[in-house]
């Protein structure tokens, strides 16, 4: 398996996800194959309903393949049971969402501590780690604020800090700037690029904005109707 070479962060082979809705079968992701190298910044483009979020969920270990395989960091997701997948989500991947998905009743510090709790990080190390993560995204002074007291950009930065809590090797971002104005969006993108360059985190970002992909991503994948298509086909 090429995953063993260690060259690729993600290797998808004929990855498929079908849903049955009544009589009809919806092919949300249909026979998709691609690789993303370690430390790469990749973008996944496509219109709404093209299957890119489903593919992202598959990569995150939140959803199950109907057929094919996905190997992340040398590990085949198909072979993992739910406990192993939880561990995988906990330690190997970090997720960022369009709507931030911070727990609204928790402070930023508590939100960021959550994955550390799941990973059973010793309590003595947590406080320092949380502060370090918040400092990295420039929010140390906001540690005891609730998410609703922050701007969208700040919330997304906090979400990025939380995604990085357990030092994952892969960051999956689902329309991270979708809910942000251009200035805040730029800030978040700059932060993602920094992480990618300085900490060698592989980033896969879902977006429907080709300009954003052109500007930040070194590799772009285009999806339409559940299949990967070439850039030319996508533009057509």
């Amino acid at each position: 398996m090429s995953g063993l070479t260690g060259a690729d962060a993600i290797e998808a082979l004929g990855a498929s996800r079908y849903y049955t809705m009544g009589e009809a079968t919806v092919r949300a992701v249909d026979d998709v194959s691609f690789t993303i190298g370690r430390g790469e910044f990749a973008a996944l483009l496509g219109p709404s309903g093209s299957g890119k979020s489903t593919l992202l969920n598959l990569l995150a270990g939140l959803d199950h393949l109907t057929a094919g395989s996905i190997v992340v960091a040398g590990r085949d997701l198909n072979t993992m049971d739910s406990e192993a997948l939880a561990r995988y989500r906990r330690l190997t991947v970090g997720m960022i969402f369009q709507s931030f998905n911070l727990v609204p009743t928790m402070t930023l510090a508590d939100n960021i501590e959550l994955p550390l709790r799941f990973a059973e990080t010793p309590r003595s190390e947590r406080h320092e780690r949380v502060l370090e993560l918040l400092t990295n995204v420039g929010l140390a002074h906001r540690a005891s604020h609730k998410p609703t007291e922050l701007s969208g950009g700040e919330q997304q930065r906090a979400a990025i800090a939380r995604a990085l809590a357990n030092r994952p090797s892969l960051l999956l971002a689902d329309e991270p700037t979708g809910n942000l104005d251009s200035r805040n969006g730029q800030e978040v993108m700059t932060l993602l690029r920094e992480l990618n360059e300085k900490m060698a985190v592989t980033v896969l970002m879902v977006t429907h904005d080709p300009a954003l992909a052109d500007r930040y991503a070194r590799k772009s994948l285009h999806m339409a109707d559940g299949k990967l298509v070439s850039r030319e086909e996508a533009l057509r």
Binding site: A60, A86, R89, E120, N166
Partner: protein
């Protein structure tokens, strides 16, 4: 997730829905309180009944009578159809020795009752006299005696019922303590032939050592009705003419002395059944309250069960409230559960979190409930005693909350709560994170 984190998160979640969780917890508290209240009432009543009955020494006592006794004539049919009253041996000194030799027997004493006249300070009064065995020392009414019990088993001392003492010393019966009374009684003397005995009037001086306010043995024994009590051994030596003596005379075997009844006292109630059996084999009638105890114990077992069931009903209702609260929480926190799963919480973590919330409610509710139940118990105890006091009766502790009940009730509350959490927790764990996180 480690336990401390689990309970920290659970506490945080409960604080976020403070009113709802507080109400549910109060529901558990009321349920536990009713359970504790019901059970402690049952335990208290049982303890009260046991105390009263045990004090009377009844469970340690077997009453033996001869089958020749006319009082037993009617019982013969069901007791032993083939044994005719005439064939039953006489209840004499031989029998007494044999019974005294049975294992577990502590004391065999005859029921000595006789009529007598008592003189004190020039006043006389006619009354019933009875012997009190040494074992009566521990008896409830005797324990509450004003003065003291007999100094020895053959002392020339008497205990008087207070109402009788009043007849001799109207104003201050207590002043009779330590004073001497004269007893006039009929002494039975052996006759010239075995077919007769003679009776002679005698008198003897006794010291009054105590006044009894209640009937000994709770009024359950023949001797209870007497007004003057003397040590059984003293009474025996006095050879008192007894009501049963005439009966013995008309029967064919006067001769040596026979007893109308022997009271056999065992070291503990555990021997009663065996002794009763042995005595019956010797062809005497025997009766103990053991059978009565059995049904009393059964009664309390059933009572406790019913009280427990009624108490648990409230807790069952409370457990439905827990299910409801947690199902609401699952619906409300769908997104949060989705986030937690996306961040790497396993199904087991999510499940444990809900169990921790249920257990916390159970623990707090259980502890509150025990306190509430205890307060309710004190209140009812107070009310009962207030009533008893007005009825001029001694206070009783009808309410007992043993430590095992406290621990058991809290443990039960936690158990019920966790059981109630099974469904909501499973539902939360099964939640599909993709759906939960889908943008609304």
């Amino acid at each position: 997730m480690i336990r401390q984190d689990l309970f920290e998160l659970a506490a945080r979640n409960m604080r976020n829905a403070r009113l709802r969780n507080a109400l549910t917890t109060m529901g558990i508290a009321v349920g536990v309180a009713s359970l504790v209240a019901m059970l402690s009432l049952g335990i208290g009543l049982q303890g009260f009944a046991n105390h009263q009955l045990m004090k009377s020494g009844m469970f340690q006592t077997v009453f033996v009578t001869s089958r020749q006794d006319i009082r037993n004539a009617e019982e013969q049919a069901d007791a032993k159809p083939d044994a005719k009253p005439e064939e039953s041996p006489a209840l004499n000194d031989d029998a007494r020795k044999k019974i005294a030799a049975l294992p577990g027997v502590e004391e065999v004493s005859p029921e000595v009752r006789a009529t007598a006249e008592v003189e004190y300070g020039g006043r006389t009064n006619f009354t019933l006299l009875a012997g009190l065995p040494e074992s009566a020392r521990e008896e409830d009414a005797v324990e509450k005696v004003k003065g003291r019990f007999f100094s020895s088993a053959n002392a020339d001392e008497v205990l008087l019922r207070r109402d009788f003492a009043k007849k001799l010393e109207k104003d201050d019966p207590d002043s009779m303590l330590g004073k001497t009374v004269i007893l006039r009684y009929a002494e039975r003397q052996s006759g010239d032939s075995s077919d007769s005995f003679s009776i002679e009037r005698k008198e003897k001086q006794f010291r009054v050592v105590g006044l009894l306010d209640e009937e000994p043995f709770g009024g359950m024994r023949m001797i209870s009705r007497a007004r003057v009590f003397l040590p059984t051994q003293t009474a025996e030596v006095m050879n008192l003419m007894q009501p049963a003596d005439t009966q013995q005379l008309v029967r064919s075997t006067p001769g040596s002395r026979t007893y109308s009844m022997l009271t056999v006292r065992m070291k503990s109630a555990a021997y009663a059944e065996k002794v009763e059996e042995s005595v019956k084999k010797m062809n005497y009638s025997a009766y103990s309250y053991l059978d009565a105890t059995k049904s009393i114990r059964r009664f309390f077992a059933v009572l406790d069960m019913f009280l427990g069931i009624f108490g648990s009903l409230a807790l069952a209702v409370a457990s439905l409230a827990i299910v409801n609260t947690l199902v609401m929480a699952v619906l409300e926190r769908r997104r949060e559960i989705g986030i937690m799963k996306a961040l790497g919480a396993s199904d087991a973590d999510v499940k444990k979190l809900f169990f921790a919330e249920a257990a916390t409610m159970g623990l707090i509710g259980g502890a509150l409930g025990v306190v509430l139940g205890w307060v309710m118990g004190r209140a009812i105890n107070f009310g009962t005693n207030f009533y008893l006091h007005r009825m001029k009766m001694p206070a009783e502790n009808l309410w007992t909350v043993p430590l095992w009940l406290v621990a058991g009730a809290i443990g039960f509350a936690v158990l019920v709560s966790v059981l109630a959490g099974i469904y909501p927790a499973a539902r939360a764990a099964k939640l599909d994170p993709v759906q939960a996180l889908r943008y609304e």
